[in-house]
């Protein structure tokens, strides 16, 4: 049994059906890539997995570590060990990165984290993400560059140590240095902590730095093709149109 089991997931937003029966299994220690053209429903899946209130699940279930979380509150999913790295991280003025992290960590603990333990963890994450120490005293995402925002997302991921992380187009808008840092961060969390990840991306770029074991292609709200890393190369050579034609009958 996989840690995260998505079964026949149908999702609607404002009367429009975006996901039309998605099945997906992800476990700790596995790196999955979910690829697909614009508008295929990738970000909808990401938001739905964390319980965004705007997305309505009309059919199907999401089970995480044996618990049905289809109707759970977002923070309950986070406490259970899910994490979403946002495509567009929201700025939280007035709250420093460090303070926010402390609050997020304490939210799922009975006793607040010791100052020393928190500092050690934070330093470790800072080293991993190659950011300046002063970064953590800045207001979260407030005035951050695109690259800083994505680094801040991975920094939070490292601190919150989820079992399964969903990275929603984390690669978009990143220069190559930032992309490498972010991707290597994910890879190390996988290698060191056994992180399971669903890397959602439109492009192949990030997958040169993090190698997925499983690749899924999403089109028109359904997963139409699955395989190993060889699928990424095929996409690179053939493009989405070719695949669309191939699976056209089934979609």
């Amino acid at each position: 049994m996989a840690d995260l089991e998505i079964r026949d997931l149908h999702v609607r937003i404002e009367e429009r059906e975006i996901l039309r029966g998605v099945d997906l299994d992800i476990s700790r220690g596995e790196i999955h890539a979910l690829m697909g053209p614009n508008g295929s429903g990738k970000s909808t899946l990401a938001s739905t997995l964390l319980g965004h209130p705007a997305y309505e699940i009309t059919e199907g279930t999401i089970v995480f570590k044996g618990e049905d979380i289809t109707a759970a509150e977002p923070h309950e999913r986070a406490h259970a060990g899910l994490f979403l790295a946002f495509q567009y991280p929201v700025s939280i003025p007035g709250v420093s990165v460090a303070n926010f992290l402390r609050m997020a960590i304490n939210a799922k603990r009975e006793e607040p984290i010791q100052v020393k333990e928190f500092r050690t963890q934070l330093q470790h994450a800072i080293d991993l993400l190659d950011v300046d120490r002063s970064f953590t005293s800045r207001h979260l995402n407030d005035g951050f560059s695109g690259g800083e925002k994505k680094r801040a997302e991975i920094l939070q991921m490292a601190m919150l140590a989820p079992d399964v992380a969903i990275l929603d187009e984390t690669d978009s808008g990143l220069d190559i240095d930032a992309l490498r840092t972010v991707a290597e961060g994910v890879q190390r969390l996988h290698d060191e902590q056994g992180l399971g990840a669903l890397i959602i991306t439109h492009y192949q770029r990030i997958l040169h730095y993090v190698e997925p074991e499983f690749v899924h292609i999403l089109m028109d709200g359904r997963i139409v093709l699955e395989g190993g890393v060889e699928l990424v190369e095929r996409l690179e050579n053939e493009g989405y149109d070719q695949i669309r034609q191939e699976v056209g009958a089934g979609a």
Binding site: L50, G51, E73, P74, F83, P93, M103
Partner: protein, 462 residues
């Protein structure tokens, strides 16, 4: 004003507001003797206005009304003699941060109960005392500035203040004196039945530099009413710099606060003024920050947060009488419960105030469907070589920010709390004074906690 103007009213029943206040106006310590004839004359003139005017009503934009109809003024007493001398109300010790200070003056109800001043500063000519004592001991200095820019006839309570004030605070910082720690001026009301006519006069002489923190506090009480009708004036002479902050929390009792505050910025002087209006049954504030001589500059920051059935009406003026001058106004406010808050910010540039550059921004956040919150910026420009503009946001909760924080493990109330606290930070952080910032933060947190159910209901109804 001829003497004896007030004579017809001496026959008013004893023990009531009018007679008690009248008695003190005419015979009290600050009644005006010897060389401060101006004070006595002003009191008499104000008294005449007091008797001939009604309690004020403010209307704004046709639909917003601040009315004092529910205030039973005759049931209130100023009674400075009833205040136990030297006893500082508990609310003061409970609230004020324990931190180094240059001095502190505390008025309870109608009387000053505590004055302290760093002896080293006293030696250098700094004066901190009750305004009554200032007229007695430093009459020339007090008279020269007293009521220089305040009016006495715009409404009944303004007249009442000018006629009846007792105690009061006077601060003088001599030329070139730099003071790092704040002077604390405290107005406290320790129970119902009190009309407190607070009166503050501050003069920052040439190139002086100092901080002033005013605290307006009341004990919580469940029955009866109290009134604080304050008048505050601060004058900064050439090159003086002052950071002025106000912490206002009148608690849960039925406290009315109708106050006028004026800050005059002189030549090349600078003032950073941050009122935080955080509690009161009905609060009406007229706040005026004026650059009155060339080269003056100012930053006008403010925040307010109303809850339950509180009513706040704030009118802030960014006035430029001469140029070149600078201004920067930035206010933030939120409302929960069934509270009402109206903020009007006015940039006024007088004829001749050329080369003035100023900006006004107001940001507000509504946290309950029953709360009402208005923010009205306006600009009145009578000079042509200036830049003056305004902006701002009127918002509800940012759902995308809430989801973001929830996805990191914060429950909805915690996310909302953080969002609202963070909302005030751009203003609050500019206080540049950790103990006071912490006090304001904790008050904001407490207000949010008490409105928690309300905010949750609002959130789920959406």
């Amino acid at each position: 004003m001829p003497e004896g103007t007030a004579e017809p009213v001496v026959a008013v029943k004893p023990g009531r507001h009018r007679e008690a206040t009248l008695y003190h106006a005419l015979h009290g310590a600050g009644a005006g003797h010897g060389h401060d004839r101006t004070l006595a004359q002003l009191r008499e003139a104000a008294l005449a206005h007091f008797y001939t005017s009604d309690l004020p009503v403010w209307r704004r934009s046709g639909f917003w009304t601040t009315s004092l109809q529910t205030l039973d003024l005759d049931a209130l007493e100023t009674a400075p003699d009833a205040v136990e001398p030297g006893v500082v109300p508990d609310v003061v010790a409970r609230t004020l941060p324990d931190r180094p200070r240059a001095g502190r003056i505390v008025q309870n109800a109608g009387a000053v109960v505590h004055v302290e001043l760093d002896p080293a500063l006293a030696e250098r000519g700094v004066i901190l005392c009750s305004l009554e004592d200032a007229f007695r001991d430093h009459g020339e200095l007090a008279s020269a500035h007293y009521s220089k820019r305040l009016t006495i006839d715009r409404h009944k309570l303004e007249a009442a203040n000018a006629a009846f004030w007792t105690g009061g605070a006077f601060l003088y910082v001599p030329p070139g004196v730099l003071v790092e720690d704040p002077f604390e001026i405290v107005y406290a009301i320790d129970g119902p039945g009190v009309a407190q006519y607070g009166r503050t006069l501050i003069v920052g002489d040439r190139t002086s530099e100092f901080r002033v923190h005013e605290y307006d506090l009341a004990e919580d009480f469940s029955e009866g009413q109290a009134l604080h009708a304050g008048a505050f004036e601060l004058y900064l002479r050439d090159g003086a710099r002052c950071r002025l902050a106000q912490f206002q929390d009148w608690g849960r009792g039925e406290v009315y606060d109708v106050s006028t505050r004026y800050v005059g910025v002189g030549r090349d002087a600078y003032c950073h003024w941050l009122p935080s209006l955080l509690g009161g049954h009905l609060v009406r504030q007229h706040l005026e920050l004026a650059v009155s001589e060339p080269g003056g500059d100012m930053a006008f920051r403010g925040l307010f947060f109303t809850e339950a059935d509180e009513h706040l009406d704030a009118f802030a003026v960014d006035l430029h009488e001469t140029g070149p001058s600078g201004g920067d106004v930035h206010w933030r406010g939120a409302a929960t419960g069934e509270s009402r808050a109206s903020f009007e910010g006015l940039i006024q540039i007088d004829p001749g105030a050329q080369q003035t550059h100023t900006y006004l921004q107001i940001h507000t956040m509504m946290l309950s469907p029953k709360a009402r919150l208005d923010a009205i910026p306006s600009v009145l420009v009578s000079a042509d070589d200036v830049s003056a503009s305004h902006g701002g946001t009127v918002g509800e909760l940012d759902e995308s920010a809430i989801f973001y924080m929830q996805s990191r493990g914060l429950d909805r109330p915690a996310a909302v709390r953080l969002l609202v606290e963070g909302f005030f930070e751009p203003v609050l952080a500019q206080l540049n004074d950790e103990p006071l910032e912490e006090l304001i933060r904790s008050k904001l947190t407490a207000k949010l906690a008490s409105a928690r159910e309300d905010i949750e209901a609002y959130a789920t109804s959406r």
